[in-house]
C-alpha cells in the first residue's frame, strides 16, 4: 500500500451512527485511490467510535483518522472544521469527499474556505482525467444539463449525493490502520447546541421514496400495509386526491395539482389510474413504478416499470422480499 493519501472521506455520523453515504464514498474513493495508486483514508470525529472506525476499514478504507472526544459528540461545525483542517493539513489528500447531506453541505464549504480550495456541490459522478485530476460531474439548472468541473487547487473537494455511488461489500477480513489523533480543544466556538429534536412526520416533497395509493385501495386501513412498505424503504406515503377528499389520509400526503408536487428517486403508484391532475404532481420523479389492474390506465404510459395486476396480491410478497434483502427475515 502506498503511503500517500489519494482520497480522504469524511465519515459523517449522527448519534454514533455512520451515515449511509459514507460507505458509498468509500466505494467510489477506493476505485479512485486505486487508479491513483495511492491510499484511501477516512476521517471520523465523535465520541466512542472505535467500532465504527473498524467498519470504515471493512468497507474499504486503508487508514482511518479517528478523533474521539466528548466535545465532538454533537455536530458543532466550528469544532469539526478545526479538527478536519488539521488532519487535511497533515495527510494532504489529492481528493477530499464529503456526503451531500445537510451536515456535509454545511460543513464542506466552511472547510473549503478555510483551506482556500475549490469545492463542487452535490456531485453525481466522479472520474479522473489522464493526469489523475478529479473530474466532478453534477447536474445544473434543475438537472436540465450536466456539468463537468475540475479544481485547480488541492485538495479537490466535492460533496457527493447520497444513493448514487455503490458501496463495496462489507469485508471484516480487510486490514487497515486506525490512527488516533488528539482533538483541538476549543473552549468556545460561538455555537451552543441547546437541543436536538428527532424529526417525525411527513415531508413528502423531500422524500426519496414515495409509496402512493389511489382508488385501487379498498379501505383506509389498507394504508397501514403501504406504510409498512414505505417505512422499509425509508420513504413516505402519498395519495391521489380522491382518497384525501374521502378523509382516508391527511392532505399533507396528497400528490397533484391541488396537493404537493414531488420529485422522489422512486415513486411507487399502487392502484392509481393517473388522472392528469395527479400526473402533474409526480411526472418528474426519477423512477416511476406503477401497479395497476388496468393496462390502459394513463399511469402505465408514464411509468418506467409497470405491473398489470392487483396491488393486494403483490404488496405482501413485495414486503417479504424486501425484508429478506434487509436481513429482517430469512
Amino acid at each position: 500500500m502506498l503511503n500517500e493519501c489519494g482520497v480522504l472521506v469524511f465519515a459523517e455520523q449522527e448519534n454514533g451512527r455512520i451515515h449511509g453515504v459514507v460507505y458509498e464514498l468509500l466505494g467510489k474513493g477506493r476505485e479512485l485511490a486505486d487508479r491513483l495508486k495511492k491510499s484511501l483514508c477516512a476521517i471520523l470525529l465523535g465520541y466512542n467510535l472505535w467500532d465504527e472506525a473498524k467498519e470504515l476499514i471493512y468497507y474499504g478504507a486503508d487508514k482511518v483518522y479517528l478523533i474521539d472526544h466528548p466535545s465532538l459528540k454533537d455536530f458543532d461545525i466550528v469544532r469539526y472544521k478545526h479538527n478536519i483542517v488539521k488532519i487535511v493539513d497533515e495527510v494532504k489528500p489529492d481528493i477530499f469527499l464529503i456526503g451531500a447531506t445537510r451536515i456535509g453541505r454545511s460543513l464542506a464549504p466552511r472547510v473549503a474556505a478555510a483551506l482556500k480550495t475549490g469545492l463542487t456541490a452535490d456531485c453525481v459522478d466522479l472520474d479522473l482525467d489522464e493526469e489523475g485530476n478529479l473530474i466532478q460531474i453534477r447536474p445544473a439548472f434543475s438537472g436540465n444539463i450536466m456539468a463537468q468541473i475540475k479544481t485547480r487547487t488541492k485538495p479537490q473537494m466535492a460533496t457527493v449525493r447520497y444513493r448514487i455511488m455503490k458501496p463495496l461489500n462489507r469485508d471484516p477480513s480487510r486490514r487497515g490502520e486506525i490512527v488516533v489523533r488528539e482533538p483541538i480543544l476549543l473552549e468556545k466556538t460561538g455555537i451552543e447546541i441547546l437541543d436536538k429534536i428527532e424529526i417525525g412526520g411527513v415531508n413528502i416533497s423531500e422524500a426519496d421514496v414515495i409509496v402512493a395509493a389511489g382508488r385501487g385501495l379498498k379501505s383506509p386501513e389498507d394504508f397501514k400495509i403501504l406504510e409498512e412498505l414505505a417505512t422499509l424503504l425509508g420513504g413516505v406515503l402519498g395519495s391521489s386526491r380522491p382518497l384525501v377528499d374521502a378523509g382516508w389520509i391527511g392532505r399533507e400526503h396528497q400528490v397533484g395539482f391541488s396537493g404537493n408536487v414531488v420529485k422522489p428517486k422512486v415513486y411507487m403508484a399502487f392502484g392509481i389510474s393517473g388522472a392528469p391532475q395527479h400526473l402533474f404532481g409526480m411526472r418528474d420523479s426519477d423512477i416511476i413504478i406503477a401497479i395497476n389492474k388496468d393496462p390502459s390506465a394513463p399511469i402505465i404510459s408514464v411509468s418506467d416499470y409497470y405491473v398489470i395486476g392487483d396491488l393486494y396480491e403483490i404488496i405482501h410478497p413485495l414486503i417479504n422480499e424486501i425484508k429478506k434483502v434487509k436481513g429482517l427475515v430469512k
Binding site: D245, F257, A275, P276, F280, K293, S296
Partner: protein, 461 residues
Amino acid sequence: MSPKIPNAVIDDLRGIVGDKWVIVQRELMESYLKDETPDIIRPKPAEDLILVKPSSTEEVSLILKIANEKRIPVFPVGGRTGLVGGAVPTEPGIIISLERMNKIEVDLENMMAIAEAGATLGDLIKVAENAGLFFPPHPGDEGAQIGGLIATNAGGARAIKYGVMRNYIKGLEVVLPTGDVLSLGGRILKNNVGYDLIQLIIGSEGTLCVITKAVIKLFPKSKYMVTLVVPFNTRSEALRSVPAILRSGVIPLAIEYVQINEILEAARHLNEKWPVHKGFAQLIIILDGMSQEEVLAACEEISRICESNNALDVMLAETPEEQNRILKIRSNIYTALKPNMIDILDVTVPPSCLEKLMDEVDAIGSRYGVYLPAYGHAGDGNLHVHIMKEGIKSMEMVKKIKGEIYEMAVRLGGTITGEHGIGKIRLGDLSMVLSEKHIEILRGIKRVFDPNNILNPRHPL
C-alpha cells in the same frame, strides 16, 4: 335502445382500438364515471358502461359509426374537471376518453397551437411557453383537456383582456355521430363562409360531435407581468373600483374578487400562506405589458382608483413564484370548499350589477339562515356562489335558494351560468333564460348533427 351492450359490439370495439383499450370492468373505470361536480348533486352514472380509449380520429370515427348503427349512447370525456355533471355517462353506453390523443404542435410563424383533444391545459401552457408564446386563459385545473375546454367554452380568471375559449379556436376537427369527419376553419384569423359551425360546436358540451383536434390562437408572451392584491374593508368599496378600472383604459388580464375567509381557507388547504391578511374584500388584478415601466404606470392608475375607494393598501407581486402562488391559491378555493359543498353556481350579470347581486345573495342567505360564500371574476360580472352543507335542511331548500339566486341574476340582466355550462344539472333551469322558441331551435340543431340522439343524450336538449 338496449340497456346492455352486445358482446359483438364489444368485440368490434376491441378490433378497432385493441383489447387493452376497451375496459369493461366497472372498478377500472370508476374515475371516468364522475367529474368535479360536488357529490350530492352530481348525476348518478348508469350501469352497463364500457370505456374506450381510441388513439386516432379514424378510430373515433369507427366507434361512432358502430354506436350510431346500434343506437348506443356515447359519452365523450376529457379531464373530468367540469362542475355541472356534463361528462357523467348517465345512460348505458360507451365512454370515449381521448387521453391518448395528446399531441401538440406549435406553428410559431402564425402563433397557433395544433392540439389533439386529449392534451391537457397544463401541456398547452408548457408547450406555448417553450415556444416563447402564451396561452392566456386559465380555467382552473390544469388537468383539464383541450377537447373539454372547447366543448364547455371554458372561461376562467384571465378572460378580460383576451376572452374565453371561444375567442381562441380558429379550427376544429370533429367526428359527427354518424362517423363523418369534419374539418372546420384552420390556421386563419378571418373566415366568413356561411354559418359558423366552429362557434356552434364550442360550448356544445359533447352533444353535437366529438372534438378530436383544434387550432388554438396563441399570443406573444408579455415581457412583464405583475399581480396586485388590493384589500378593502367592504365589498362595496372593492366592487365599485372594478368598473372604474375597466373604464380607465387599463386592460388587465384578470380582476378577481375574493373575500378573506375563503381565500385564507384555500391557502390553509394547500398548506400555503396568503400574502395579504388585511381587509374583508380583496381584488386580485393581473396586468401584463411590454416593460416594467409601462405596467407599473398602469398599476399606479389602478392604485389611484382603488385608493379613491378606500383601498387599505396596494400590494404588488412581481416574482413568478409569488404570482404563481397567488393564482394557485385562488384556483383552489373551490377544492378547499368542496368537501362541505352542495352546489356551485356561476351566475353572471352585467359587471356594474355585481355588487347588487352579491348583496342580494347575502340577503337570500340570511333569509334561509345559511352562509353562501361567493367570489368571482369581477371584471366579467361572473360570480361563483357556493351552497354549503351547513344549515341546509333539505334538497327542496337548496332548490329554492338556487331558484332565488337565478331569478335575481336574470332580473339584473344576467344569466344562470357564465362559464360552467348547463351539463346535466342545470337542464331544468333552462326555461328561466331561454324561450320555448329558442329551445326548439336548439333541438333542431341537435337533430341535424345527431339524428339518433346517441351523443351525450340528455333532456330536453
